[in-house]
């Protein structure tokens, strides 16, 4: 039942960067009082440059939005952070290019220029994709495009880049720019990792599992609302963060809502195989110094039944 | 033919009038000294001639050529030495030449030697005594190529002996190079020893109270300082100065 405001437990959630439709459930839960029902007073924080993972791991924030690759690398470095729910069941990212560039499959990457942010992961993933089609990753030029956004980059020396379709792809639709897209999931099951996820730190789980449960219960209710009523959910996000581009939010929400739960039994469910597959893949490609103990990296124990 | 003509020049700073209708002609090759109370406007007159200031009224011409507000026509020694602190003495005295062409450092060295600054060529201004700085500024003015030289109290910080040396030196240069010299001093002896003509300014607003033509033939030597005639003229000038002071205050 409802608890009075002064008994509410204060909880901080840090986002991964700026608010977007990945976070709709959290905003809905906050606005609709789902968190309050659970006795929580949730404060949603944009971390800016502070980096959500460190804040969560250090306990400065109770929960955070992260992604599987980050948590994997963090855990390898003994950062005590644990994934507690998958926000989206399948990886919605992929390599996008304007149709004019004529890139319809990884085979076409040869002789083209890819704009990334200089991570070794990128080259390995690209090479996995290209290997499948007998293309040579060495014939691909990889350029670091730093802070510049997708649309800017492809105007200039870059042919394709890695985007989340649910946001950047939708923006392209809004602009009427046709994109070619190669989703990672279409080429390798191993690359179907969770992004984003909700995370907390080990201490929180050990000391205050009730709060973790309560938080996930509220969040799950929020995301379920977003799944059922995309438009209303988008309106809530826009109301909470009025400086966002409302057209983009609405359209993105419609695209993303069905993908939160997708083929899973319940929202937030994570599979050991997904964690294992991707970390093994990373290890095999020398992207990790040691093997990840995948069982410890995530938990489904606190998801509502 | 009068070389430097100052006609009816007046100037004020804000509401204070400093010079009131000053008329002065200095002929080619003449040596004219300006005497006047402290704060009367002697330096200001030099600033007008040099073009640093523009008169409110009146004109200044050189060889019948109007130069009111024009710069670079005179070689100038300011009342404070104004040496550049980042230059050695040698480089400092060469400045006047540098500004108008090529510097002759050999000649400059010789001049420094003559002024007793031979050991200080490479010293910086702050290593010099007050009188030594003044001598350096004096040499800088002598080395500048212009034919009109304006000297503002050039020897005020020198002892009597060094001063006499410098005076004689100035006279020899003046005669040799046919310069026209305008000279400010507070020392009546000095004025009488050096000049062809002495102009006495009043308290401000300054105008010319009287002009004296110095009656001694050249070359002069120190002995005239002790003659009766000398003392006579000196007294005369002294009282003129007094009168110029009295007028206003």
């Amino acid at each position: 039942g409802e608890k009075t405001a002064d008994k509410l437990k204060k909880v901080k959630v840090v986002l991964d960067w700026t608010p977007n439709t990945n976070h709709t459930g959290l905003y809905v839960a906050k606005e609709k009082g789902y968190f309050k029902e659970q006795g929580l007073d949730v404060d949603i924080i944009m971390p800016g440059d502070a980096g959500a993972d460190q804040l969560v791991a250090s306990g400065k924030a109770d929960f955070g939005v992260s992604y599987q690759e980050g948590i994997t690398q963090a855990r390898i470095q003994d950062v005590p952070i644990v994934s507690i729910a998958a926000v989206i069941q399948h990886n919605t990212s992929g390599f996008a290019s304007p149709v004019a560039k004529n890139i319809s499959s990884p085979k076409d990457y040869e002789g083209k220029t890819y704009g990334g942010w200089g991570s070794p992961v990128e080259k390995q993933i690209l090479s996995s994709l290209m290997d499948k089609e007998n293309a040579d990753v060495e014939k691909l030029k990889i350029v670091n495009m730093g802070d510049s956004d997708f649309f800017t980059a492809v105007k200039r020396d870059i042919d394709f880049a890695w985007i989340f379709y649910g946001w950047t792809g939708i923006e392209a639709e809004l602009r009427g720019e046709k994109l070619n897209m190669q989703y990672l999931t279409d080429y390798s099951k191993k690359l179907d990792y969770y992004t984003p996820v909700l995370a907390t730190n080990e201490k929180m789980i050990a000391k205050d599992p009730e709060t973790v449960k309560a938080f996930l219960k509220g969040a799950a209710k929020g995301y379920e609302f977003a799944i059922e009523k995309p438009d209303a959910a988008a309106d809530i996000l826009i109301k909470e963060v009025p400086d966002l581009n409302s057209k983009l939010v609405k359209k993105s929400q419609q695209w993303l809502s069905p993908k939160y739960k997708d083929d899973a039994d319940r929202w937030g469910e994570q599979k050991l195989s997904v964690w294992k597959n991707y970390s093994d893949w990373m290890y095999d490609h020398k992207l990790l110094e040691k093997k990840l103990d995948a069982k410890k990296a995530f938990t489904n124990d606190y998801l509502p039944e | 033919m009068a070389q430097l003509k100052i006609r009816n020049v007046s100037v004020s700073f804000g509401k204070k009038q400093i010079l009131h209708s000053v008329d002065l002609q200095v002929s080619n090759g003449e040596f004219v000294t300006i005497l006047g109370p402290s704060g009367s406007g002697k330096s200001t007159l030099f600033h007008l001639i040099g073009g640093l200031l523009h008169p409110d009224n009146g004109h200044i011409s050189l060889n019948n050529h109007e130069i009111t507000g024009e710069r670079g026509h005179i070689s100038y020694m300011p009342q404070s030495p104004s040496l550049l602190p980042w230059r050695t003495i040698l480089d400092n005295v060469l400045l006047g030449q540098e500004l108008s062409g090529i510097a002759d450092s050999e000649y400059a060295r010789m001049m420094l030697q003559k002024a007793g600054l031979g050991d200080y060529e490479k010293a910086y201004p702050h290593e010099l005594s007050g009188g030594m700085k003044q001598r350096a500024a004096f040499i800088r003015a002598l080395l500048s190529p212009q034919s009109v030289i304006c000297l503002d109290e050039p020897f005020s910080a020198l002892d009597e002996l060094t001063r006499l040396d410098m005076q004689k030196w100035l006279l020899s240069i003046w005669q040799e190079h046919q310069k026209t010299i305008l000279f400010v001093t507070h020392n009546i002896d000095e004025a009488l020893f050096l000049s062809d003509r002495i102009v006495v300014l009043s308290q401000k607003p300054a105008h010319i109270v009287k002009e004296f033509t110095v009656p001694f033939p050249r070359p002069r030597n120190e002995d005239i300082l002790l003659t009766r005639e000398f003392l006579e003229v000196k007294k005369d000038i002294y009282y003129t100065l007094k009168q110029g002071l009295a007028v206003q205050s």
């Binding site: 977007n20 800016g48 400086d243 581009n245 | 702050h126």
Partner: protein
């Protein structure tokens, strides 16, 4: 009067050229929106936007104050305690070389998401130019005046307050001007340490949702704020370094 507004005219001109070039070369609006579009976006958003502006303005003001105070104190300390100068000077330089992406998590972990870490960031940005400029100003105090004060037995603190401080005011103001300019950008950066309000927040949101027009609204307001701060310092300077203005035309 005309001259005073020349910068505005130039701005106006630039905006017109910008608009024209935008139309001509058909730069897409998401890359470089036309000034008109930016202006209308600004108007439209104003009711929500001014909260951000106020927040950033007050943040930068507070940060500027603490930053420059810290900068002045550091300069005074290093100047008056020479024993500290050698060991501490390098660390002052080092403080300018800790990237915010590293500092940010540490600051948040130590000081939370409140005001303090943000003010620390702005302080770090603002104090440096003031310290360097003030130190250099102190060092250049006129030698003759220092000698005079020493001879008169001025205490270290008299020397400082009556001589070195007023003497280096122009230099300090030069540092303050640089700091004032940086303070607004410093505030925007500090808002990335997790903030609900502020131009920085508005701008990242606009940028991440591809609203280039709003990004430019943010930039223009950052610019206006900085200019405002800068000119407040210039006004202060004019009042406090008044004697310098009374220069001959």
């Amino acid at each position: 009067m005309k001259k005073r507004w020349s910068a505005l005219w130039l701005l106006f001109f630039i905006l017109i050229v910008w608009d024209a070039v935008g139309r001509w070369t058909q730069v897409p609006a998401w890359l470089l929106p036309s000034p008109l579009k930016i202006f209308s976006a600004g108007l439209e958003d104003w009711s929500r936007f001014y909260v951000h502006v106020l927040s950033t303005a007050s943040l930068s003001f507070v940060g500027f104050l603490t930053g420059t105070t810290a900068g002045l104190l550091a300069a005074i300390l290093l100047h008056r305690v020479p024993a500290l100068r050698q060991p501490l000077y390098p660390f002052i330089i080092l403080s300018q070389n800790v990237p915010v992406i590293v500092l940010a998590p540490l600051l948040v972990i130590w000081f939370g998401f409140g005001l303090l870490p943000k003010i620390i960031v702005i302080t770090l940005v603002c104090f440096f130019p003031v310290t360097i400029a003030a130190l250099d100003g102190f060092k250049q105090t006129d030698r003759e005046l220092v000698h005079y004060f020493t001879m008169c037995g001025a205490s270290k603190s008299q020397m400082f307050w009556k001589l070195e401080m007023p003497h280096s005011l122009p230099s300090i103001f030069s540092g303050l001007k640089i700091a004032a300019t940086y303070s607004v950008m410093g505030a925007v950066i500090s808002e990335w340490l997790g903030s609900e309000r502020g131009i920085g927040v508005y701008m990242t949101l606009a940028s991440s949702s591809f609203r280039t027009d709003r990004v430019f609204v943010a930039i223009f307001s950052i610019m206006m704020l900085s200019l405002l701060f800068f000119f407040i310092i210039v006004l202060l300077e004019r009042r406090m370094v008044a004697h310098q203005r009374k220069e001959l035309g």
